[in-house]
């Protein structure tokens, strides 16, 4: 099986960008990623475009062909992907698969989202869904995970708040993040309650933004020299339907991380830096546990210890994560991988993880039967 490499990556600023369309956001990220890779449009053999809200908010479909058209990619196969919050990382997964199938030498992945419009309501499932129609929405399932985590493991409100405090500390070092002002536990807990026990600062903000990655075959990566980053594993799984889901020992999350480690031939101790899907403070705590950075139930104490903070032994979400950088849904999965690429190259500026050799990007999305619809874990190394 042919190996896949990342030779270019770029992310736009995240946050409200009323003057930008989905296409212009995607184009900006894609052009910057091509320039980062040092390849031109004519070299692109295939393109994947990830977006969730275009059809719902603007009636736009098949947007990828417009984005790739705007960067001068013509005739090459282009496919539009939607997979909830893993839209971008699922598109990346398919790009890696195209390289592995020897179907392409250079594949570009673009995730772009425009959400900061008045017509966007509370994000939930469609109208056909029992849970959605009875009050399930993005924060609700996670708030119940938080309450149960407190009940079973003694996790505290202060520990949840520590996730946001750590997130802002990293975001202060990332010029592209949306919320860059440092905060503290008291301030996080004093904010308005969204869904008990999650206050507003523990819920990620929506955003407009895009991110793009250039994936290459070994042959095409050679020209990129030492900057090329190796894809050791890209794993995509789906949730399952069980009679009584354990919402604080998240089977799908745990299983997907383990599968990615196995495929990459590494373990949690080998990971130098990680991005995870911190849509809410509790999410990051659960992902610490699934990624094996601490034992089950210990996520709250792990963040409180400072281990995942700037200067800690296991930096998590150095970009600021969803909580501070913002969450333009289909851009997120691509941006997480892009962030890891920067650290492995030593190009992450003020937030650089010292001597990063192995990095992980974890993402998940969509509520179904007390589980997630989709989960991705990518392991990269230099």
């Amino acid at each position: 099986m042919a190996a896949a490499y990342i030779i270019g990556a770029s992310t736009t600023a995240f946050g409200p960008q009323p003057e930008k369309s989905i296409v212009s956001l995607g184009r900006d990220a894609a052009l910057a990623a091509l320039s980062d890779a040092g390849v031109d449009s004519a070299s692109v053999n295939m393109g994947f475009f990830a977006n969730v809200f275009g059809p719902l908010l603007f009636g736009d479909t098949t947007i990828g062909q417009d984005v790739f058209g705007a960067i001068g990619v013509q005739r090459a196969p282009i496919i539009n992907i939607e997979n909830a919050c893993t839209s971008g990382s699922s598109a990346f997964h398919l790009a890696v698969q195209a390289i592995e199938a020897d179907a392409a030498d250079i594949v570009v992945v673009v995730g772009a989202e425009k959400m900061c419009v008045p017509t966007l309501g509370l994000v939930g499932g469609g109208q056909s869904d029992y849970a959605s129609r009875n009050g399930m929405a993005a924060p609700v399932g996670f708030a119940m995970r938080a309450a149960r985590h407190m009940h079973e493991f003694g996790t505290t409100l202060q520990q949840f708040a520590a996730v946001t405090v750590k997130s802002r500390a990293f975001a202060a070092k990332n010029p592209l993040a949306q919320f860059r002002k440092p905060t503290n536990v008291e301030e996080v807990l004093a904010g308005p309650m969204i869904a008990d026990p999650l206050t507003r600062a523990q819920c990620c903000p929506i955003a407009d933004g895009a991110s793009a990655i250039v994936v290459a075959s070994e042959k095409a990566a050679r020209a990129n020299g030492a900057r090329a980053v190796r894809v050791n594993a890209s794993v995509l799984t789906s949730g399952e339907s069980v009679s009584a889901p354990d919402i604080v020992r998240w089977g799908t999350d745990i299983r997907t991380c383990a599968l990615a480690y196995e495929k990459a031939g590494v373990g949690p101790d080998d990971v130098d830096v990680a991005e995870c899907h911190d849509a809410f403070s509790i999410s990051e705590i659960l992902h610490y546990e699934a990624l094996g950075f601490c034992a089950a139930g210990e996520g709250g104490r792990f963040v409180e210890s400072g281990a995942s903070a700037p200067g800690g032994r296991k930096p998590v979400n150095p970009s600021g994560g969803l909580l501070s950088r913002g969450h333009p849904v289909a851009a997120t999965g691509v941006a997480q991988i892009s962030e890891i690429v920067l650290h492995l190259r030593g190009e992450a500026g003020a937030r650089q993880t010292p001597d990063a050799k192995v990095g992980v990007a974890q993402c998940m999305g969509g509520d179904k039967d007390g589980d997630t619809k989709s989960c991705t874990v990518v392991v990269l190394s230099r």
Binding site: G121, Y130, N134, G135, A147, S243, A244
Partner: protein, 145 residues
């Protein structure tokens, strides 16, 4: 009188979806779901085929009592005209090995605890997404506190 009209009459508004709940002869509400004879699996809401073995499922009563496994109270602007705030929970049912998502009694929103014993009620709560009132099932404390 059609089935829909009967339910409308009993609950004060049409249910948010058919086949979720009903009342027994004494007027006590109960949940309805599915059961697979092949692998003894229960589901709520009802689905035509068993998620485990794809066999056809039977319609069964799932009772109306359970214990709160986890819960939250939503304080932002609610969807479907639900009350603000409203509480929801995962509930372990007494009469079937199922952990289900459900609304809690909004008259005591925020007043629930994990482990609380709860029972089903049905009332007109919120609308169908287009403004028409709908009956929804919700759980309230079984024992007074």
């Amino acid at each position: 009188m059609t089935a829909a009209r009967v339910l409308d009459h009993v609950f004060g508004a049409p249910p948010i979806a058919g086949g979720l709940f009903d009342v027994d002869a004494s007027g006590a509400p109960f949940l309805m779901g599915g059961h697979c004879d092949q692998c003894d699996r229960y589901v709520f809401p009802y689905s035509e085929s068993c998620p485990a073995c794809l066999s056809g499922m039977k319609h069964v009563r799932l009772g109306g009592e359970g214990v709160i496994y986890s819960h939250t109270t939503v304080r932002t602007k609610p969807p479907y005209g639900l009350p603000q705030p409203y509480s929801v929970a995962f509930i372990d049912l007494n009469d079937a090995p199922l952990r289900i998502f459900a609304l809690l009694d909004h008259s005591m929103a925020g007043g629930f605890r994990i482990g609380d014993r709860v029972k089903l009620k049905v009332g007109v709560i919120g609308h169908d997404g287009e403004g028409d009132p709908r009956a929804r099932g919700y759980f309230t404390l079984k024992d007074s506190r």
